[in-house]
C-alpha cells in the first residue's frame, strides 16, 4: 500500500474508529477498548495549536544511531537547519531539515497533520533518499510533552516506534526517536535532535550594513 493510501485510510479510519488506533494498544489501557467510540474523555484536550511553538527557523544538532537494533553503538552527528511552516493556516505543518555531518548530507521532511476528531497528530516523515512518506507516528501532547507511536517493520521484524518531543521552551526543544522490538518493554533511542531558535529579530550588536 502506498503512503498516500495509508494516510487516506488512516484519516477515514480514525474518524470512525477512534479506539482502534495502534497508539491505543500501546497506551496499555485495556479498559479503553470497551469505551463508546465517539466519546471524548476530559484528558483528550484540543491540540490544534500544539505545534505553533515550533513555527520558524531553528538551528539543529542531530545525533543518529547508524544501525538501530543491531547492538551497534555508533552514533553520527549532524548540524543543520530546521524550518517549520504552517500549512492550512496551522491545521498542519511542514518541517524541513537540512543537515551535514561526518556521515554526509541529510535532508528530512516531516508533515504533521491534525485530526480534529481524535485530537491526535500524525507525524509523516520522509527523507530525500527514501522518496516516500513513512508510516506515521500518531499521538498528542500532554503536559508540554508530545508522544507519538506506531508499529512498523524494521529489518523484517515488527517493532514499535516512539517519537517524543520534550523540553519545549520558546527558543529550544528536543526530539527523540526510539525503537522497541520487545513489545514496548525496552526502548533503544536512535535519534536525538536539539533545536535552538534562530531569532528573526536583529541582534542588538549586529552591524546594520550588509553592503
Amino acid at each position: 500500500m502506498n503512503a498516500l493510501t495509508q494516510i487516506r485510510t488512516y484519516l477515514l479510519m480514525s474518524s470512525l474508529v477512534l479506539t482502534l488506533l495502534p497508539l491505543q494498544g500501546l497506551a496499555q489501557k485495556k479498559a479503553d477498548a470497551s469505551r463508546p467510540m465517539p466519546q471524548q474523555t476530559p484528558t483528550e484536550r484540543e491540540g490544534q495549536h500544539d505545534f505553533d511553538f515550533e513555527i520558524g527557523t531553528w538551528k539543529t544538532h542531530l545525533s543518529r544511531l547508524l544501525h538501530p537494533l543491531t547492538g551497534s553503538k555508533t552514533w553520527v552527528e549532524y548540524d543543520g537547519t530546521t524550518v517549520v511552516r504552517k500549512v492550512w493556516n496551522g491545521r498542519a505543518n511542514l518541517v524541513e531539515l537540512v543537515a551535514d555531518g561526518s556521515a554526509g548530507h541529510f535532508e528530512g521532511l516531516n508533515l504533521r497533520l491534525y485530526n480534529p476528531q481524535s485530537r491526535q497528530w500524525s507525524l509523516n516523515f520522509a527523507s530525500s533518499s527514501g522518496g516516500t512518506l513513512s508510516q506515521p507516528t500518531i499521538g498528542e501532547f500532554k503536559n508540554g510533552r508530545g508522544e507519538f507511536f506506531d508499529q512498523e517493520t524494521f529489518n523484517g521484524r515488527a517493532i514499535f516506534v516512539r517519537f517524543v518531543i520534550s523540553d519545549i521552551t520558546p527558543n529550544s526543544c528536543r526530539f527523540e526517536q526510539a525503537f522497541s522490538d520487545d513489545g514496548g518493554k525496552t526502548w533503544e533511542v536512535n535519534w536525538i535532535a536539539r533545536d535552538t531558535r534562530i531569532q528573526d529579530e536583529p541582534d542588538k550588536a549586529r552591524p546594520s550594513h550588509t553592503r
Binding site: 527557523t57 535532508e107 534562530i198 531569532q199 536583529p202 550588536a205 549586529r206 550588509t210 553592503r211
Partner: protein, 152 residues
C-alpha cells in the same frame, strides 16, 4: 569562454555557509542561493536567504555583462537594508572576479566595497565582501560565503 557567459556557473540552487566577524570571532550561519538567467540569458538574477549577524536576511542580486565597457555590473538589495542600491563593476581575471563600488555613508565617509567570487568549481564557489575606508589601501572582510551546489 565568452565573457558574457562567465556567470553562467551560478545558475541553480546552492547551499551556503555564511561567516561574519563578531566580538567572539567568526560566526557561522546557513543560507541558500538560487540564481537564474533571464532576458534571453543576458541578465543573472539571484535570490539569497540566510542569516546575517543573527538576523534573517533575504536578498536580491542582479547582474549583467555590459558589452560596451566589457565589465560585469552588479547590484543588490535586501530585507535588512531595502533600497541602498549601489553599482559594483568588475571583470573576470584568472577565473576570479572583483567587483568594486564606492559611495559615501551617512557620516559622509567614503566607503569602497569589493565583492569577490573565487575558487569557482562545478559544485562550489567562494564569495567575500570587503570594505575599505582608506581608498583601497586596507580592506576589512565582513561577510564570507562558501557555496555548495544543492543535489536533490
Amino acid at each position: 569562454m565568452e565573457a558574457e557567459r562567465e556567470f553562467d556557473f551560478l545558475e541553480g540552487q546552492w547551499d551556503a555557509v555564511c561567516r561574519v566577524p563578531s566580538e567572539k570571532g567568526w560566526v557561522e550561519a546557513p543560507g541558500t542561493l538560487t540564481a537564474s538567467r533571464t532576458l534571453d540569458g543576458l541578465v543573472s538574477l539571484e535570490r539569497f536567504e540566510g542569516i546575517y549577524h543573527g538576523g534573517a536576511l533575504k536578498g536580491l542580486g542582479l547582474r549583467a555583462f555590459n558589452r560596451e565597457s566589457r565589465e560585469w555590473e552588479h547590484t543588490w538589495t535586501d530585507s535588512l537594508e531595502p533600497g541602498h542600491f549601489h553599482l559594483w563593476k568588475g571583470a573576470f581575471r584568472d577565473g576570479k572576479i572583483d567587483l568594486f563600488a564606492e559611495w559615501s555613508d551617512e557620516g559622509g565617509k567614503q566607503v569602497r566595497s569589493r565583492l569577490t567570487w573565487s575558487d569557482i568549481r562545478a559544485d562550489s564557489a567562494h564569495w567575500e565582501s570587503a570594505r575599505s575606508f582608506d581608498g583601497g589601501k586596507t580592506w576589512q572582510v565582513h561577510w564570507v560565503i562558501d557555496y555548495r551546489r544543492r543535489r536533490w
